[in-house]
Amino acid sequence: MSKDSQMRAAINQKLIEMGERERLKELLRAKLVECGWKDQLKAHCKDVIKEKGLEHVTVEDLVTEVTPKGRALVPDSVKKELLQRIRAFLAQHATL
């Protein structure tokens, strides 16, 4: 297991070092805004906030309420494209 976790850390470091992680994040954000994911989540946030009361909302509440829904609402096309790019990056730097 140590080998696995070691490898995982190495890959993450590689992603950050190469700047690929930042690029992927930017791409994902643009795609999600484009397909309306952000508006849907915002509407959901509104419901959560109304439910909890405007004054008592914390970031933790929002994260626990929103993250599962956010993960489910990502369109398949966006998910596929992102996985493809990650795979390509790994293949590029692992096989070389």
Binding site: K38, C45, V63, V66, T67
Partner: protein
Amino acid sequence: MKMEDMPLSGPDNTRLEALVHDIYSELVEDACLGLCFEVHRAVKQGSFFLDETDQESMKEFEIVDQPGVDIFGQVYNQWKNKECECPNCKRLIAASRFAPHLEKCLGMGRNSSRIANRRLATNNNMSKSESDQEDNDDLNDNDWSYGAEKKAKKRKSDKNQNSPRRSKSLKHKNGELGGSVSSEPYKYNYNTGISYETLGPDDVRSLLTTQCGVISEHTKKMCTRSQRCPQHTDEQRRAVRLFLLGPSAPSLPDADAVVESDSFDIPDGQTLMSRLQWEDSPDISPTDSASSKASTNHSDSRRPKKKKTTSLGLNSGGIGGIGGSLSGGSSSSQSNISLSTKKKRPKLSAPSITSIYDDLN
């Protein structure tokens, strides 16, 4: 470049796949966290619900999508029928015609001020003709509606209006006057005349019965004023009629009237004369009295006999009074005749005249 993970990724494809999914879910959670921070910040700053409004106001300001109406539900060509009230003359004028009308009404601008000044001047001079002129203005003013303006444009040529272009065309017309002159003499400028060579004999005759007709030495045109025009004497008028119509032409209608009135007026006392004058004076314009004076002088010189006979038999005290009354009375009565035939002229019966004659003699 040497990679640490190179030997590890190779053997198991499923482990690599799990790794890829982990990275992906990390990225998605990052995005969610970013959104949560954003929303939380907006909520705490109070800007999150700003774009939300209640249903009533949303309904009130709904965008209207109907034909003939703008997005606020208003009819958009309302202004076409708007009318404004002129502050000067208190009349309603179509909005699109308001500015030109105001210019005319207030007398602004070059031409309008000239016209307005002239109107003021004439109004001060002749208070009587003021109302007539106002009426004419009303008739000729096209500011009141679109329809009237269109009509006016159609018959622009035969309408007397204020714009310089129209007056120019009018002047041009004056130069080549036809036979219709005698029927409408008032239409034309008094200063210009008529060339008598172009007129037929009938035209000349009808013209001479209504107008002065004296031929000017300079322009060789006929005077188009009335028969009492002060510029010319009765002698000139008679000469013109003799020249144009021959010796058989009827003499001036004035002459007979003068004779008649003279014969009636002479024996009367001063009181009657003054009464006559008083009665007539409101109707006599300055030009009228001047012309009548001229004609009176004329008649005096024409008939010296009668005058002498009357004055001969008078007492020394009565001469001046009757002499004065002679001219005054004749002038007033003559103007009376020429002004309006309908008006009653105080008549004296024949017997009374003769008796007065006898008394005088």
